[in-house]
Symmetry: C2
């Protein structure tokens, strides 16, 4: 295993410390339990947003803490859910009288631990709601999931709900908005190589020199097929075909598109991927009105790509365009 780390057991905490050190004007980190929160607390009239999950998906979620997105993020160990006490402490640290919304990716441990934390807070009289993101069209159930896995739509939900929260939308409205984003978001990924979990020290799965894993999850969990590596045009057609058919997207739809590298994919290749996505959308009559191309939801050092599509509405677009100031997304002020 070759990684730029000290000891495997220290990676997550040191990465959190490094993230906060690089954006001291935006972030504060808290140790034991571990979480990141905004340096400037939100106004009391606005709902707080908290997310979290296993580490290894950077910049998700810590890189999205800041104005216009999250108020706090709880990083679990690598590919391991944060504990209920992390989530509870983060929620208490940023909660406002307007309440708190939890954005949770659909993995069994995440859902269970966010549930427990929410119940602990609610028992104390706090208003906390949760939205679960389950946008991966590749598999019905998986190694870590009952139902679909949560993928790139999480980024859309954090941005769009984050903007609406800044604008003062109330907790029921925000939870409803988050579900609407999830209902209109779809993702599917593929991998050229396995990731290597630091504590394991070896690749999570083996894959042949001429093979790819289609529908791979962001923890290296199996996808829906192992096939011969194809030109990127065919890979994108395959992924887009599944995504477009699932919602379904129809001619005339507008879309927000995320082309996210899995962690070890160069931007040169992601740009080629986007070209093919634009072509596939053109053929399907889908108009891309906004896009992100880069590393936004990753899987350690896996080479591959995750495509995420949100069927755009005027409201989603207005909230997407709202100012954001986080380590990983920044525009508009």
């Amino acid at each position: 295993m070759k990684k730029l780390i000290n000891a495997p057991a220290d990676v997550v905490r040191e990465a959190v410390e490094g993230l906060a050190a690089a954006s001291p004007e935006l972030l504060v980190w808290h140790d034991a339990p571990l979480y990141l929160r905004r340096r400037q607390p939100k106004e009391h009239s606005c709902v707080a947003l908290v997310s979290g999950g296993g580490s290894g998906h950077e910049p998700l979620h810590g890189g999205y803490v800041g104005f216009g997105m999250l108020d706090a993020a709880c990083p679990g160990d690598v590919f391991t859910s944060p504990t209920p006490d992390q989530i509870e402490a983060a929620t208490r640290a940023v909660a406002t009288p307007a309440g708190t919304l939890h954005l949770v990716k659909n993995y069994t441990g995440d859902v269970m631990n966010f549930d427990m934390a929410r119940e602990l807070c609610q028992a104390d009289g706090m208003a906390v709601e949760a939205v679960v993101i389950n946008d991966d069209v590749a598999v019905k159930d998986s190694l870590y999931t009952a139902g679909r896995r949560g993928m790139g739509t999480t980024v859309f939900a954090e941005k769009i709900c984050g903007a609406a929260a800044e604008q003062g939308l109330d907790l029921p409205g925000l939870a409803s908005l988050g579900r609407e984003v999830n209902d209109n978001g779809r993702s599917m990924g593929m991998a050229l190589s396995s990731c290597t979990v630091p504590a394991a020290g070896k690749p999570t799965f083996t894959i042949g020199a001429e093979e790819m894993e289609v529908g791979v999850g962001i923890h290296g969990e199996p996808g829906c097929s192992r096939t011969a590596l194809k030109p990127v045009r065919e890979i994108v057609e395959l992924l887009c075909g599944r995504i477009f058919a699932d919602l379904p997207f129809r001619p005339g739809d507008e879309a927000l598109v995320l082309v996210s590298g899995m962690g070890a994919t160069p931007l040169l290749e992601l740009q080629v991927v986007f070209r093919e996505v634009a072509r596939a959308c053109g053929e399907a009559g889908i108009r891309i009105t906004r896009s992100l191309v880069g590393n936004y939801i990753t899987s350690l050092d896996m080479a591959g790509v995750c495509l995420s599509f949100l069927r755009m509405s005027a409201r989603f677009q207005e909230l997407w365009d709202f100012p954001v100031h986080t380590p990983a997304l920044r525009w508009g002020r």
Copy 2:
């Protein structure tokens, strides 16, 4: 070779097309000769900025075209200098009556071809100056260079000169500012793995499972030593030691720091690297006033990191903070 591409011969053009398609409000691309330019031309009273170089270093340079940075970028083939006709055409496309500044990384082919393009433009009465970036402290000469190689200080120069150009600084002033940035910038990189050039189809160099290449260049060219892999703390101490001694940086100095992945390095690891850089700076009495952590100057799918430091001045900082709106850097408006 596993890459998300169609044919190796088409990678660069397709990546340029993808970049422009993802940022249609910012960029226009031109085919034969190949270059990218801003969609909104600059005001006539402002000097135009043009850069370029071999592809494979994305987002450099195409990702830095836009308000507050470059007016045009010329992508050569992978790790191959752009041709004089590309550079000349890009310069003619964006030149203003105030003149054009070329920002050139110090590689033999780049310097030669930018020289030829500049002379062709000058022969036609155009005002064109050039600044050469040679900030890599690792090696004196290299496979591709007489003198030091150009690395991450290129990003600093493009941002800082780009801001000053928007503010109306004249051509001699801008060239002088670019040289001042270069004089105060230093970089050094290291690699855990080789990159693979698409047309070659195999890794540029071999490296053992427990080895690292210290002082590696951004084309996979050899560095100054091949040693056993060390904990990231020791790697950062080694790189910072060389960088701090070279300028030299002194206690009390302020610095702009870039921690750039080489293309296949996960953000989780880059955040740990930044933590160690912050520690090393603390010990040396250097105060980090601004920073970037992510993929900003890369080497295809190489795993590793490049550290770049700019000794900060009040003027540099003001220009760094000036609004920028490009695919890869965006803030302030």
